[in-house]
Amino acid sequence: MSRPTARKAAPKGEYIETDSGNKVSRRSAITGTANITLGGRTVIMADVVLRGDLHPTRAVPSSSGKEVTPTSISIGRCTVISTGSVIKPPSRISRGQTHYYPMKIGDNVFVGPNCTISAISISSHVHIGANVTIHPFALIKENVKILPNTVVPANMVISSGSVVGGRPARIVGEVGEGWGVSGGGAGTGLGVGGGSEEKWVEGGDLRELVRSIK
């Protein structure tokens, strides 16, 4: 019995896998790679734009006197950036000059397809739905769910455990106590929680999801 839909073995896989297990799509558009750090087991899907070239230009006072490469985007472990999303560090105009600020994304963050993200910081275990826009300097704490098609206004602070939605985003609810808890090692099998068909839960450990992406 042969596999009916054997994957057309592309000469090279869709993803480039790094030593630390990061999977970066060959079709993603990444600029300024020196200014981007990925924590490991992080997935950057196709058509994702990472603007690493927009890094802080102000001189970083370093004790050793050596030139330090500024970080513009740092992404944690097991974070998934879905297709078509744009990650652009926030900027502010001061004294006629545009200054970019480093952006931080935590662990186990899921960013849905076609999002535009300029938040200053996104903490761990955050689930961002599809087509979400996050304006500059928004601050998103742990265990937050952002519903699809939401627009998070600039400078908004979303406290942990909130569910936000709407244009502009408002807090519409709280995530339950069981947010991100995969039920009793239900790692095997299918269909748990919001991730309906997948082997992972929203806000939970995304390692299974990362593993399944090839």
Partner: protein, 580 residues
Amino acid sequence: MAQPFPYTYYACDCYDSNNTTSSKRASQILAAAEEEDRTFDPRSPRSNYSLYPLEHLLYCEDCQQIRCPRCVLEETLNWYCPSCLFEVPSSVVKSDGNRCTRNCYNCPICTSPMTVNSLDTSNDNGPPYILACPYCHWSTVEIGIEFEKHTGISSQLARIANGGKPIPTQKERDKERERRKELGSRKRDGRDVLSHSEDSPSTDTERDDPPPSHDDVFSNLGAFYKAQIEAQTPSNPFSPHDITFSSPSAYNRIMNLYSNTSSKRNKRQKPAPMREAASLIEGLTVHNPSADAAAIERIKKEGWAATLSPAQKLTQINPNIRFESDLRPIATLLCTKRSKRCRSCRHILSKPESKITSTRYKIKLLALNHIPRLSIRALPSTATMPPPPSSSTQQPQFNYNALNSGIPTHFLLHLSNPLFDPIRVTLATPSTTPGKVQSRVTILCPQFEVGANTDVWDDALSSSLSPIKRGSIINADGQIEAGKIWDRGRNWTSVVIEVVPGFLKPVAGFGQQVDGADGEEELGEDEDVLEIPVFVRIEFEADVNAEERGLGDARGSKGERERREEAFWTVVGVGKIAGM
């Protein structure tokens, strides 16, 4: 919150169980028994309040029952501002109300958080400052408010009225009221002596002044009532005019209620009725038709765009305003951290750490860890051979939003067991779904076992649980055989459920009876959603000590085992039936 298909909701029966008290008449018991026999209807209006996703449910280990948000007691641990994330002591909440007193404000137009910007053009970011909305670009310039400092916005805003005029403080208001009162009484005295005219004495003076602000009226009325209460040490315990419960008069009243001797004496006296506010100084607002006329004129001139939506009005402190020029920035509402207790046994079910920045819990008893998780998904077309399980992403996506009427569709019902003991599961479902669109549902294997949630490595090391050959449950005709499970793993089992989605419009001679009256009826909202109520009953043997169940090793043979069973309704949302 709407979830995408497919989803599973769990029903908490707390409402029904609260109703079945022991002291009931025979007819009621019969009714209750009938109620018990009836299948759960996800469409009944009441079930809106008993269905929850599993993540939102807690589990009381002492009652051995699911606890939903309706059957827990919440206790506030602390208050904090969601915007600046500072904790607000409860004493401040009591005195200053449930709003942030720092610099946190929301836009009165679009509710997004506002930022303090400088209007200074000389690149120094000096004064004056304004509050501006980064989302809709509304700013306090539009209501004529500018600030001298960029901190302490609340106190500055409290002193400035719209248009930049200062707001009188409480002291100034009191002084002003006294002055007016004196003025009024002197005038009245003079008139009474001179002319004995019956004209209302104070109206002519009030005409000239602009109408009092909301705060003025409130402080006037407050002062009037205070004076009334002080003037009359109330002996009447049921006086309707007592508004402050912390006042000494209220204390008196309560003491009178509980001490018989004094109340008897007091009952004889007829209490002098309190009078209501009679003038502007006392907080009376008389309807002013000219104000209405002015508002109408303004709408004529400026149009609807200058008026407020009901939602915008309701978020304001003074909900009686009409125009955009009356808006004030909204101070951010505080949030709370709450612990939850079981309503029946008062045990704590969840308790977060009190630190604002911490997201950890001291106690958290989740239903997730105690009841099996039920999930459903479409079975890839069964006529062809079963696909390799790993490459499910390669399959064309099943469209849950367009189920075909009348075509038998197979779904996989998947049960995973969080318990450390193997469970026996019995599933039950009505043969046709409730509601106008009747779909036929058959669970092909309603009774099965699910393995224990043992160590992951046990499964990997012992290959005894080799996957079942799926070919064996599909017989020669490509039909799925009833009574056999589809697949199983360490702590999960999946079975096949066959659904024949119903017809949105009755089709003549196709098994369904065309009811003349029903056929004409329009389908209500969400009638095309296919939701299957599934009754789940699990049986297992557990160690007697409930506390150790989660922690101890299930194989640590204590010998003392007890049979347990649990039963609950779930509602499985399969999808939407497509129109034809």
